[in-house]
């Protein structure tokens, strides 16, 4: 793991998980590795943050889970996006873009 791990901004973890699951269903470890891979290790998701987040998102109805078999024939819980989750992803993305725009404008101005 690199030295430049960044603390996840509050709320961005949901966005990352939703975006990851958009590609297809995945188990917890898969999600966590996928995020590390895409962000080149900038973000590493700790198990203690990942599972509570998954739990919460399930209860919000954005994702669903089911037991399945992993690549190596091991038992694993797989998560997939629901319709409400797709909508949430759109909302969160739009929100994120607004934040980024706002922050970069501020940075440019000063």
């Amino acid at each position: 793991m690199t030295q430049e791990q960044t603390n996840l901004l509050q709320g961005t973890l949901d966005l990352l998980i939703l975006k990851t699951l958009r590609l297809g269903e995945m188990h917890g470890l898969g999600i966590s590795r996928r995020i590390e891979q895409i962000t080149h290790g900038t973000f590493s998701v700790k198990t203690g943050s990942l599972f509570p987040a998954l739990r919460r998102m399930q209860e919000e109805g954005w994702i669903k889970s089911a037991w399945g078999e992993s690549e190596a024939n091991r038992k694993a819980k797989y998560y997939r996006l629901t319709k409400a989750g797709m909508k949430q992803l759109e909302t969160e993305t739009a929100k994120w873009e607004r934040i980024v725009l706002g922050i970069s404008r501020t940075l440019e101005a000063s």
């Binding site: 188990h27 470890l29 198990t47 599972f51």
Partner: protein, 896 residues
């Protein structure tokens, strides 16, 4: 609410429900998932080339503890707060069981404080808030009254006036009229005098009361002259006299010896619409001639109906009042003869302060009692808060350890508040048990009387909800201070203190002192109020009513239902007086159509020679019909002229006696003897002036009264009340009086056979209620304040044991130590007395209108109550002070 948010809420609610109901399955799932994740991790590490044990260690490192992850998931799940709450509650329960003595004391204190409030509330609910039992919605009902508000209103409308107003009004959806009076249920095994009402035909429909059997009156049954002899009977009459006969509708019963067909049975709760008075029979007012022998509906000038109106939706009371005044003015202008001397101004009142019935009195005293109960509860809260604060010192280590282990300040406050809530709710529950008894206590104040007083106070739903609310509020008040104070402990220093006895921090002891001062001052306020009410009651009871109440026996009968006419009735009365005066032990005897101080005196509209009424002045004046020797029997002196004798009969000149207040008001400075008074067409000549006597309330100012002789102004329709002055105890005469009257007529029921000293208790009813309850609140308050100051002084003294030990070792006298401790108590007491006196001076001004013969700042009351509180508080401090003098310096110092 947008659809999206709603579905989100629904989603969370379902999750919450599932989490609660599938707890075990959920736990298994979490465990399985974490384990599965762990084995995936291990597999991954092994694929990367690690040895199995190495891979397992690395996987555990990355996971960061199976249990911690599980706990974090649990905290994320919906309803996690429920788990925390349950845990806090379990802990609170364990703590309260562990300190069961402390818990019991606190719950008792709270229960008494809350019960005082719920008791008064249950009365308010049963009277002011539900003025007509059996009618749920009374907010659009108003009473219609003419003239100034008075303590003793008389019915304000004639039937024809009411009829015209009903036809013309646009602001009311209906006006109903009723006349309450006693009737006799005859033709049954045991004839009974029953309070009932003559009503307009729309009475039940307008109130929205539906008979449980049969029907209410039909419109045509109310038309005077065309009415039918039909009756709606009350539930109690139906049960007691007709054994709940399901076939009662259509049967004939007898009222005042006339046959009536039962058309309906009223619901169980319904007792008519004069609050606090229990009516049990309803007859259409068109039957007036049958019941009373006269035809009042035909006369525009006879005002005998109380009126209730139902406002149309959207109409305000003021609009309706303005409209009725305008209409009434028109009626008065068209029929000036019938409305001469009667007030025309109309006022509307909501039923909670209806001038008819008991609410006209209760609406003044009940809110006041609730205020006093509120003060008592505040005091109880201060008391419990100081107890909790003292106890929280003993829990410093527990709290410090919890803070040290990483509990947040919020968690500690929550824990404390939950413990307080538990105490509050336990107190509230106990209060409800107490209130089950005390809510009935109002009835205990009603003396035997001719009025059918009723009060059905009980714990209804509203009272229950308020009790729960008050318990929670109280818990927050008394729990907040100790909670905030304890959660801000300096952890380090507390843990380091170990077993050394730390005295209170200055700040905390100041807080405790403040709470003690608050308790003493609040108890002073309550005791001052109690003292004022008690002295006011004493003044009323000691005041000269203008007659001598001792050794007087009363007994009443009613002749008209028994079939007597004007002539036979007068003859019967004369026989009764003759026989009774011959009885041994009887000093003198007379009769009257009322008895003093029992709200039974009547009034008439009079015209007085040489007096011109002011515009709108009501010439409705109290009028007593009395027999010969009335003034001698009552020992009310006649100051000039003469009193009535056997010679004042229907054949002689019509005569009258007036009281001094009458002369002062209408003929000031003139000689009243010989003046003429016109009452209902008859002209009476004044032959005597009597001393003032109080007939309504001991506390109301004396008012003009005119007395007319019974043989001249006789009417068999009024109750006749025998007044018997005895040489011995009046009670012992009761049976011989009954025997004597039954020798003359074995069938005639006698009622209300009681000494006057008993029945006149009604005249001080509200004063007694106020004094008794304010008094018990005051005593309770003093007890609480004493416990409060004792607890705090004893506690701080214990904390100072070491200091006292050193002082004594250095040669301090026992007296000095005693003064040291007592001095602390004395300073607190003094501060409490000062604050309390200032508070009382501001608050007692509100009681002014309810006091009789004492000022709201009565120096004697303030001084004696202050002294009492000071003595009790110092006595409470005496115990710890004595204990301090017995401290053995050696033990105190070795203790460390």
């Amino acid at each position: 609410m947008s659809k999206r948010v709603r579905s989100g809420l629904l989603q969370r609610a379902t999750s919450l429900l599932r989490n609660v109901t599938h707890r075990e399955q959920d736990e298994r799932e979490i465990a399985e998932e974490v384990n599965a994740h762990l084995s995936l991790l291990i597999a991954e590490k092994m694929r990367a080339g690690m040895k199995p044990d190495e891979a397992e260690r690395a996987a555990h490192m990355e996971l960061g503890g199976v249990e911690q992850v599980k706990e974090q998931v649990r905290e994320a799940r919906a309803g996690a707060w429920l788990d925390t709450l349950a845990r806090d509650c379990r802990f609170a329960l364990r703590m309260s069981r562990k300190n069961s003595g402390f818990t019991a004391v606190v719950v008792l204190i709270l229960a008494l404080g809350i019960a005082a409030n719920t008791t008064v509330l249950s009365w308010i609910s049963a009277t002011l808030l539900n003025p007509i039992p059996g009618v749920a919605h009374t907010s659009d009902l108003v009473t219609v009254m003419r003239g100034d508000r008075s303590d003793h209103p008389t019915p304000p409308f004639s039937y024809l006036d009411l009829h015209d107003l009903s036809e013309l009004t646009q602001t009311f959806s209906g006006l109903l009229g009723y006349h309450d009076d006693y009737m006799s249920l005859t033709g049954v095994a045991k004839p009974e005098r029953i309070y009932g009402a003559l009503t307009t035909a729309n009475y039940f429909d307008l109130l929205g009361v539906h008979p449980i059997l049969g029907r209410a009156f039909l419109p045509e049954e109310g038309t005077p002259g065309a009415g039918a002899a039909v009756v709606v009977i009350g539930y109690a009459v139906w049960q007691n006299h007709f054994a709940g006969d399901p076939q009662i509708v259509g049967k004939t019963i007898q009222i005042n010896r006339h046959p009536y067909t039962v058309v309906g049975v009223a619901p169980r709760d319904f007792t008519g619409c004069a609050p606090g008075l229990r009516a049990e029979l309803w007859i259409a007012l068109s039957m007036d001639r049958d019941v009373w022998g006269f035809n009042r509906p035909d006369y525009r000038g006879i005002f005998w109906l109380n009126v209730l109106g139902k406002l149309r939706p959207g109409v305000t009371k003021n609009q309706a009042q303005a409209e009725l005044n305008l209409l009434m003015q028109g009626i008065v202008e068209r029929f000036p003869e019938d409305h001469r001397d009667s007030p025309s101004e109309i006022s509307l009142d909501p039923l909670w302060r209806s001038p008819f019935g008991i609410n006209g009195y209760l609406y003044k005293i009940l809110p006041m009692l609730l205020g006093l109960a509120g003060v008592l509860l505040l005091l109880a809260c201060a008391n419990v808060a100081s107890l909790l604060l003292v106890r929280s010192v003993g829990r410093r280590r527990e709290i410090a350890i919890r803070l040290g282990m990483g509990a947040s300040r919020k968690q500690i406050v929550r824990q404390f508040l939950i413990e307080s809530l538990l105490l509050g709710l336990l107190g509230g529950t106990a209060a409800i048990v107490i209130t089950k008894w005390t809510s009935h206590s109002l009835v205990a104040f009603f003396p035997p009387s001719t009025l059918p007083l009723t009060n059905d106070a009980h714990i209804d739903q509203g009272v229950l909800f308020v009790t729960i609310g008050v318990s929670i509020l109280a818990a927050i008040i008394f729990g907040m201070l100790p909670a905030l104070r304890s959660s801000s402990l300096p952890v380090q220093s507390v843990l380091k203190e170990e077993a050394t006895s730390v005295s209170l921090t200055l700040h905390k002891s100041r807080l405790l002192s403040g709470l003690v001062v608050a308790q003493i001052s609040l108890s002073l306020v309550l005791l001052v109020c109690a003292g004022l009410f008690t002295r006011s009651l004493q003044k009323a009871q000691q005041s000269d009513p203008g007659f001598e109440a001792s050794h007087l026996l009363l007994a009443s009968y009613e002749l008209s239902p028994a079939g007597y006419t004007r002539a036979t009735g007068a003859a019967f009365d004369r026989q009764v007086l003759d026989r009774l005066s011959a009885l041994p032990g009887v000093e003198s005897v007379s009769l009257a159509d009322f008895s003093p101080l029992s709200f039974s005196i009547h009034s008439d509209y009079l015209q007085l020679e040489g007096y011109v009424p002011q515009p709108h002045e009501s010439m409705e004046i109290s009028r007593a019909i009395v027999g010969p020797n009335y003034f001698r029997t009552l020992r009310t002196s006649v100051v000039s002229g003469r009193e009535f004798t056997e010679g004042d009969t229907a054949d002689s000149q019509l005569v009258a006696v007036v009281n001094q207040a009458f002369v002062d008001r209408y003929w000031p400075g003139e000689n009243a003897i010989g003046k003429q008074v016109t009452d209902g067409g008859d002209r009476f000549t004044v032959v005597g002036v009597a001393r003032n006597a109080k007939y309504r309330l001991l506390t109301s100012p004396t008012e003009p009264v005119i007395y007319l002789p019974s043989y001249q102004a006789y009417s068999p329709t009024h109750d006749t009340t025998i007044h018997l002055r005895t040489t011995g105890d009046p009670r012992t005469m009761a049976s011989s009086v009954e025997e004597t009257i039954h020798q003359l007529n074995p069938e005639l029921p006698l009622f209300n056979v009681n000494p006057l000293s008993v029945t006149m208790q009604l005249g001080t009813l509200f004063g007694r209620v106020a004094a008794t309850f304010a008094g018990s609140f005051g005593l309770l308050a003093m007890l609480l304040a004493a416990v409060g100051i004792y607890g705090v002084v004893a506690y701080t003294t214990r904390q100072r044991t070491r200091e006292i030990g050193i002082r004594m070792a250095l040669g301090a006298e026992k007296g000095g130590v005693y003064r040291l401790v007592l001095g602390q108590g004395f300073r607190l007491t003094l501060a409490g007395l000062l604050v309390g006196t200032a508070l009382s001076l501001t608050l007692t001004r509100l009681l002014k209108a309810q006091l009789f013969g004492v000022s709201a700042t009565d120096a004697i009351t303030f001084a004696s109550v202050g002294l009492l509180v000071a003595v009790v508080a110092l006595l409470a401090c005496h115990i710890p002070a004595r204990r301090a003098t017995r401290v053995d310096p050696m033990v105190a110092l070795r203790h460390e």
